[in-house]
Amino acid sequence: MTAGTPKLRVEGATKAFGGNVALAPTTLALRPGEFVSLVGPSGCGKSTLFNVVSGLLRPDLGSVLLDGEDITGTSGNVGYMLQKDLLVPWRTVVDNITLGAALTRGVTRDDRAQAVDFAERYGLGGFVDHYPHALSGGMRQRVALMRTLATNHDVLLLDEPFGALDAQTRLEMQQWLLQVWADTERTVLFVTHDVDESIFLSDRVLVMSPRPGRIAAELAVELPRPRTLNLMTTPGFNDIKREILALLHARDAA
């Protein structure tokens, strides 16, 4: 792997269900450690793209490359997280975090130690032996993200991870995610419907067009890091937001 190889590369990936094209040929590349958001109308194929990258779906055409290696149609190569936390109710926090290990090779003492370490570090220290039902929505999403981190994949696919949280918790989680991301140096592809969120988190925002989905525009977010909530009402932020909203709501704009 040379220095210039993208961490993740999707090369002309296409997917149709029946005669219904969910994803038109799509190409994108993420640099190592980059944080990229995808926004686009409902049903434009964002989750389909994620399913292709994660190996759950095999694309009709095109390929997925991780560190330059073809991983098309194989699963277990990237971390994946969804809007629903999908915690397993009968496993404690630490057992949920180590679920990836249980599903692939069996949980070791080290996996447990790492899971406890994650929990301690990111605000769940007192809850490692709790069952999910005893946690709040925000805490559950934290556990879900730690589970994704614990698989130790360099690339994380986060599909509207905060979509179900209330606005306040959501803002807290965004800041927390940035902290985790900075610590662990992962490469993140992030889907959201919240334009503020996409700008606040990302290095780049990709805007997808309605069906059949493809990447219609790409906006670099050259705002300083670390970012705080104040950023959201700065003119620079606002300019990007206006641009994205215009792209998304071309038809609605008066």
């Binding site: 969804l82 397993v88 009968w90 630490v94 679920l99 692939t104 447990r112 406890v116 301690e120 709790h130």
Partner: protein, 269 residues
């Protein structure tokens, strides 16, 4: 468990059963029902005490039949549900048979079973299993069908093999519906054993005792046997409830005790 839970969980059923006995007593006295037609609770309990040394070994035998039949039925129902969950076709073919099996009047098949299987415990096991497997199969199948699709996808995306996903996701998801099925099965299991005993048994049995008592017009003893059968059924039901409580801590506890692990790994220690 706080005080309120104890009251609701233990005291109310006790009061409730006491009320049943009271109403039973009032009916017997109020309508002047003669003892040989239907005894009062007091007479029944007296008969239970008087015949205890005879009844207890018979009850043990009935319990043995129930336990074996229950286990066979539960395993069969579970395996069947897992098999049915594999493909829509198998499910479509087996499901109607399940329903038909329960529509067959069980007393009608008991006699041929004895001719085929003899007087031992075998026909009783078959009858109990016949009754128990159905709620287990139906509930477990339901549980398997209702595992969150997205969770299964996620598990696959994590690189989980079919067998590991089954072991860690699908299988544990059947625990709650399995217990629901087992509780229903437990309630009816004793009835199954009694039907088997009625048709044929080696030597004496609880149902046989009941028939003998009936033939000597000792109605309190008949009802004592019936009470004992009911108690066995309820006991079996409560046992399943208890096992469920102990084996599914995530339903009623906030945390799992993992003392050994915490002691060696807690960075704060």
């Amino acid at each position: 468990m706080n005080a309120g839970t104890i009251i609701r969980g233990v005291l109310t059923p006790v009061i409730s059963i006491a009320l049943v006995f009271l109403v039973w007593d009032l009916i017997i006295r109020g309508f002047g029902v003669q003892t040989f037609v239907a005894p009062s609770p007091g007479e029944t309990l007296d008969a239970l005490r008087d015949n205890w040394s005879t009844l207890w070994p018979l009850a043990l035998e009935t319990i043995r039949e129930t336990v074996y039949g229950f286990i066979v039925g539960a395993v069969l129902g579970f395996v069947l549900a897992v098999a049915m969950a594999q493909t829509r076709i198998v499910q479509g073919l087996v499901y109607p048979v399940l329903i038909v099996s329960q529509a067959v009047p069980i007393i009608a098949i008991a006699a041929p079973l004895v001719i085929l299987l003899g007087f031992g415990i075998a026909p009783k096991i078959v009858i109990v299993a016949w009754i128990v497997f159905f709620p287990v199969a139906v509930n477990v199948l339901d549980g398997l069908a209702n595992v969150d699709r997205e969770l299964l996808n996620l598990a696959r995306a994590m690189g989980g093999s079919r067998s590991r996903v089954f072991l860690h996701i699908r299988l544990p998801a059947t625990v709650t519906p399995l217990y629901t099925g087992l509780k229903i099965g437990a309630t009816y299991a004793v009835t199954g054993a009694v039907i088997g005993e009625l048709v044929a048994s080696t030597g004496s049995s609880l149902a046989g005792f009941q028939r003998e008592a009936n033939s000597s017009l000792d109605t309190p003893a008949v009802w004592a046997a019936m009470l004992l059968m009911t108690i066995i059924g309820i006991g079996w039901f409560l046992l399943v409830v208890g096992v469920e409580y102990v084996t599914t801590p995530w339903k009623h506890r906030a945390t799992h005790r993992r003392l050994r692990f915490r002691a060696t790994n807690d960075p704060r220690s």
